[in-house]
C-alpha cells in the first residue's frame, strides 16, 4: 500500500488526446477512462446524441505522486479554462503489483 494522489479529469472526448499528452509529459501513462458520461455544467448539457460524439464527456481516472500535483495543476488549469471540464484531486492509497 502506497499513498498517491487520485486524479479525476472530466473533459470533452475530443480533448482527451491533449490531456493525455500533457499527462505523458509528467510521466503519467497508466489510467482508466470512463467513456461517454453525461455532463451538466455552466456550458450547457452534454448528453451525447447518437449523431455526434463531439460534445460527449469522458472521465479520466489516474494517480500520481503527491509531489507532482503542483506541476499537474499548473499545466491543467489553462487547458480546463480554455476547453471546459474539471479536475478533482484527492488522497488515496493504492494496492498493486
Amino acid at each position: 500500500m502506497r499513498a498517491v494522489k487520485r486524479i479525476e479529469i472530466i473533459i470533452e472526448k475530443p480533448h482527451i488526446p491533449k490531456v493525455r499528452s500533457m499527462l505523458d509529459s509528467l510521466g503519467i501513462t497508466s489510467m482508466t477512462i470512463f467513456e461517454s458520461v453525461a455532463g451538466f455544467g455552466d456550458r450547457g448539457d452534454r448528453i451525447g446524441s447518437g449523431v455526434s460524439d463531439a460534445q460527449v464527456m469522458h472521465a479520466l481516472l489516474t494517480t500520481c505522486q503527491p509531489d507532482q500535483i503542483d506541476d499537474l495543476s499548473a499545466q491543467l488549469e489553462p487547458l480546463l479554462r480554455r476547453l471546459g471540464g474539471l479536475c478533482l484531486i484527492s488522497d488515496a492509497t493504492v494496492i498493486r503489483d
Binding site: H15, D45, G50, S52
Partner: protein, 323 residues
C-alpha cells in the same frame, strides 16, 4: 399535404411529440450511430453504383465544383450577418455550420424523391461528400483573420492544426461516405447486387427509426433555444431558405434535372451537426456548441425536413426544371 404523410416524416414528428410530453423514450446512442453509418453507406454505395454506370460528365464536374465553392464561400457572407449579434468565434462557427451540409437531410430528400418517383444523379453524393469540409476551413479562417492580432501560434496550436485537417478531411462521416462511394464505383453492378438487399431495401424503414431519434434529439434541444435567442432562430430559418434558393438558382444555371436541383437546394440550405461540430470542438473550442449545434439541429434540420424539402421542390417545379 400528402407530401408530409410519409412514414419517415411522421416518425420524426412522433419523436418530437415524445420529447415534448417528456416520455422516457430513448433510442440508445450506439444504435443510432450504427443507423447513421448505415445511411451513409447506403447512400454512398448507391451513388457510387450509379456513377459506375454513368461516369462524370461536364455537368457533373461543374455541379461538384459549384457545390464546393458554395461551401467555402457562403460562410463569408453569413458571417457578416451573424456578427451583428454574435462574437467572432460563435459567428464563425455558425457560418461554417451553414456552409457545410446535413447528410440526414440529404438522405430524407432522397427518400422524398423516391416517393415522387423522381431520379437523381450518382454524382450528387460526391457533391455532398465534398461540401462537408470547405466550410470548416472558412470558419477557422474567419476566426483567425478576426483575431489575428491576438492569437500567437504555439506548438500546442500547431498540433491542433494537423488534427483540424484530420477532422475536416477524415471525419468518420466523410470517410464512410467517400469510401462507400468509391467502393460502389469499383464494384459496379455485381457489387451492388450483392449488398443491395441490405443497402437499399430496408432503407426507408431505417430512416424511420433514425428520424424518430432525430425528433427526440431535436425537441430535447429546444429548451436550449432561450440561450440562443430570437435572432438566431430566425437566422436558422432564413439562412436555410436563402441558401436553399441559391442552390435552386445554381441548379438552374447548371441545367441539372429536378432531382439533382432539389438535392442541391438541400445541400446549400442545410446545416451540419456532425462533421462541423466535431472539427470545431478542436479548432474553435471558444465557440459555444450549445449555440451552433442547437440552431442546426433544433431549428434548421426540422424546418428543412418538414417544410424545406416540399417547398424547394414546389419552386423547382414552378420554374420548370424538368425531372
Amino acid at each position: 399535404m400528402d407530401l408530409l404523410l410519409s412514414p419517415p416524416i411522421l416518425f420524426f414528428l412522433l419523436g418530437i411529440i415524445a420529447a415534448l410530453v417528456r416520455s422516457d423514450l430513448e433510442i440508445p446512442k450506439p444504435v443510432v450511430r450504427l443507423l447513421s453509418i448505415y445511411l451513409l453507406m447506403s447512400i454512398g454505395t448507391y451513388g457510387g453504383y450509379k456513377l459506375s454506370l454513368g461516369g462524370l460528365d461536364g455537368t457533373a464536374l461543374a455541379t461538384i465544383g459549384a457545390a464546393m465553392l458554395a461551401s467555402f464561400a457562403m460562410p463569408f457572407v453569413t458571417y457578416r450577418v451573424l456578427r451583428l449579434k454574435l462574437n467572432v468565434a460563435d459567428s464563425a462557427a455558425v457560418a461554417a455550420t451553414f456552409g457545410s451540409i446535413s447528410a440526414v437531410t440529404f438522405v430524407t430528400a432522397v427518400a422524398f424523391l423516391d416517393n415522387q418517383e423522381v431520379t437523381y444523379s450518382g454524382y450528387m453524393v460526391a457533391a455532398m461528400a465534398l461540401m462537408e469540409s470547405p466550410a470548416i476551413v472558412s470558419g477557422v479562417l474567419l476566426a483567425r483573420l478576426a483575431s489575428s492580432k491576438v492569437q500567437v501560434p504555439s506548438p500546442q496550436a500547431e498540433r491542433g492544426e494537423s488534427s483540424l485537417w484530420r477532422e475536416a478531411l477524415f471525419n468518420g462521416a466523410v470517410l464512410v461516405l467517400v469510401g462507400s462511394m468509391l467502393i460502389g464505383v469499383l464494384t459496379g453492378e455485381r457489387g451492388w447486387t450483392s449488398i443491395q438487399p441490405l443497402m437499399e431495401e430496408p432503407f426507408k424503414g431505417v430512416l424511420c427509426i433514425f428520424l424518430l431519434d432525430m425528433g427526440l434529439v431535436a425537441a430535447r434541444r429546444l429548451k436550449d433555444i432561450r440561450r440562443v435567442g430570437v435572432f438566431l432562430v430566425l437566422f436558422g430559418i432564413l439562412a436555410a431558405v436563402v441558401q436553399g434558393l441559391v442552390g435552386v438558382g445554381t441548379a438552374w444555371l447548371l441545367g441539372v434535372n429536378a432531382g439533382d436541383a432539389l438535392l442541391l437546394a438541400i445541400l446549400f440550405g442545410s446545416a451540419s451537426y456532425i462533421a462541423v461540430p466535431a472539427a470545431l470542438r478542436l479548432a474553435l473550442p471558444e465557440a459555444n456548441p450549445s449555440i451552433y449545434v442547437t440552431i442546426a439541429l433544433a431549428i434548421t434540420f426540422p424546418f428543412n425536413i418538414v417544410l424545406g424539402i416540399p417547398m424547394y421542390y414546389a419552386i423547382i417545379n414552378a420554374i420548370g426544371i424538368a425531372a
